[in-house]
Symmetry: C2
Amino acid sequence: MAGPNYSEKANEILNAAELRMRQGGFDAVSYRDLAAVVGIKASSVHYHFPQKADLGRAVVERYTTKLLAFLGAPDDPTEFVETRIKRLCSAYQHALIHEEVPCLCCVLGAESLDLPAVVSQAVNHFFVQMIHWTATALLTGCEAQGDRDSSGSLPSDRQAAEVLAKHIIGTLQGTMITALTLQDPDVLTNAEPFLLRLVSSAIPTTPERQP
Amino acid sequence: MAGPNYSEKANEILNAAELRMRQGGFDAVSYRDLAAVVGIKASSVHYHFPQKADLGRAVVERYTTKLLAFLGAPDDPTEFVETRIKRLCSAYQHALIHEEVPCLCCVLGAESLDLPAVVSQAVNHFFVQMIHWTATALLTGCEAQGDRDSSGSLPSDRQAAEVLAKHIIGTLQGTMITALTLQDPDVLTNAEPFLLRLVSSAIPTTPERQP
DNA sequence: ACGAATCTAACGAACGTTAGATAGATTCCC
DNA sequence: GGGAATCTATCTAACGTTCGTTAGATTCGT
């Protein structure tokens, strides 16, 4: 589950690369610039990440791991569905507002037709994981009162949850881009109540136990 | 209102540049590649668009004009609000599904922190125009029965319409990116009913006359 | 003959990548 | 324990490619 253990210098490189990639996309990162940031030469960066596609993949995978770790469990039975979705929204808000840079996979996803295959695969995997987390977060709320989880008795709900999850993730990506280019963070923060309205109208009013 | 009248060759260049830009972003466009596509040399492309930033701005402005022309009037009193929003959704669907490439300003918006100023201004202008169209499309439905338009008597509704419009545009951008990287166009087409639900719950049930 | 559109040729800069040397630490074996 | 071998992380130097851009000549229709 946990990714590879990078050396300290490798992590510095990944930090610089992630920042640059979130500002300007994959092509905006250059080995020479990264090297200058972390205080070594360009050829030494190749020692840690032989090819640029390797570097791109590593950045995306570490980003995916970090974000999923922040989100935590999507199926804690003591938690409201709304609380989970709010946490998801807050992750996106933190990226844009505090880190002052959009979501990595928002940027890479937009140029995914032109990415090296191994990088666009990693981006695809990010979306799959995020959607899976969200769909689970939506579903386990419905099943909270019973224990029908292992019986697999709600296939149609799982499908509906996936559709809504894709919509939620997509909406957060897009409102982030729009907030960025308008320099208006409210576009992103306002997405939260809109999404919560969709969620509560999709879930058939089964409040869970209190946390 | 109508942009400049480009020569036939200039339009060919803009076509090639727009396609390339929608695939891979601003940096994916090179004068030599464009030249090869339209059958001239790179230096001749500079005759039509001296600097690359000029080319970028021209592509974005022509794209904005084309899209607004497709959308038509947002305040035709014989039209339902839902019809207008569906037309907006169909524009985005057409881009991804038939042209097989995402919205231009979706791609450029994601890398807007790294764009030449004149290009990111044009992208910003695109979003402003789209949001203005959508807000107007949402508002004039409410005011259809009376003629309070010029009296400016609904400032709070205008504001609420802008908020919803930003959310709609953002959602379309983001579900397009998500649909692209998942290679699942349904993510975009499914956004339509979700957005229509938000719209109809925001508009206080004032059906217009039949078209 | 003039202007529009294209060409050839080249400039300097930046890019990813590689080969090979080097310094310092660690490990291994006698 | 001490010298030898190996490994890690960096360096210098350079390669070939691509890029945006420019100067100046050329072609061609009006």
